[in-house]
Symmetry: C2
Subunit: 196 residues, 2 copies
């Protein structure tokens, strides 16, 4: 299972052969078929597994920063941003996204479950935080879901595109931090509460 994960993520569905998977797992090909039935079933199980693994850390609530105002607001948003990028810019997450995109035609239901487990969950979680910040008057967020989507869009910038294209891999914390800073600054500027 771990071997299959590596082969699928490295080569994609089509180029990953059951022979290569069996060899890397140190077992026979027939054993793989006994366990998973078919290549499609194995692929589906693998993808769902990595989704769970990667997105487990994204949905658990952040440690609360008690009073949220001024610098604390910035720190809070930066914390969310860092956690997101810390997962999403990983070689593993990039490879997963690549494969899911590439095979979305052949496995539409897989793309759908990926979207639900990943982006949707992250958006809803972020929207909850934004709703709280809006009610506290710290930010002005009339549409939390829409603003949450915007928040993540700001983080999926040029660095992310270059990672998807294989032109950058495993960015340094400094590179990530630069993206985080600009995104948070922009987000706050666009959601500053009206001066009373």
């Amino acid at each position: 299972m771990l071997a299959a994960t590596g082969v699928f993520l490295d080569h994609g569905y089509g180029a990953a052969s059951m022979d290569a998977i069996a060899e890397k797992a140190g077992v026979s090909k027939q054993t793989v078929y006994s366990h998973f039935g078919s290549k499609e079933a194995l692929f589906g199980a693998i993808i769902e597994d990595i989704c769970d693994e990667l997105l487990r850390g994204q949905t658990q609530p952040m440690p609360p920063l008690k009073p949220v105002d001024g610098d604390d607001l910035e720190r809070r948003l930066m914390g969310m941003a860092e956690r997101f990028l810390g997962t999403v810019l990983t070689g593993r997450a990039v490879a997963l996204f690549r494969v899911v995109i590439a095979e979305s035609g052949r496995f539409p239901e897989l793309a759908e479950s990926f979207y639900r487990a990943g982006p949707t969950a992250a958006i809803e979680n972020m929207a909850r935080l934004l709703r709280d910040l809006d009610q506290a008057g710290t930010l002005s967020v009339p549409d939390p879901v829409s603003s949450a989507k915007l928040f993540f869009a700001l983080l999926r910038g040029d660095l992310y595109v270059r990672c998807l294209l294989g032109l950058a891999s495993d960015p340094t914390p400094a590179e990530r931090q630069a993206v985080v800073n600009e995104a948070v600054r922009t987000f706050i500027a666009a959601h500053a509460p009206a001066i009373p």
Copy 2:
């Protein structure tokens, strides 16, 4: 060549067979090999061709809106945004991006030339506009290239992700407009010039 384009965009490199390409082109397989030599060469030629086709409209300068201030600024940015999304959310552009991402491991030089012809060119073009707006005092843009990247990141939001995953296809002008409006509003808020 046109037939090959469709097959490669629809199925990706691996799943596109030379038999299918030859059949769709209405010629024999040998004829395809006579013209292009190998599958890799044909693929490379195809991809470069679609890149040129899609990105031709992105780099040509926008029709100038003479005095840029107030609503004109908004219109100008919205024009850039609409042109970008009008191309990038197309089924054809999405399919191209999908294939380039999927095969970036096997064809790294193709991913690089795609990035240069596409994102880089668009960023540089946008950065030029932002530099002008900054010098005119209409916007405050200390780092035009960085802000240009941010501008496009705002446009590659949730709708774009859903298109990449095949969960949305060929969004309506209304859907695009909503993205444009929010992106431009956010961008302007984050680059408002200091009140003198």
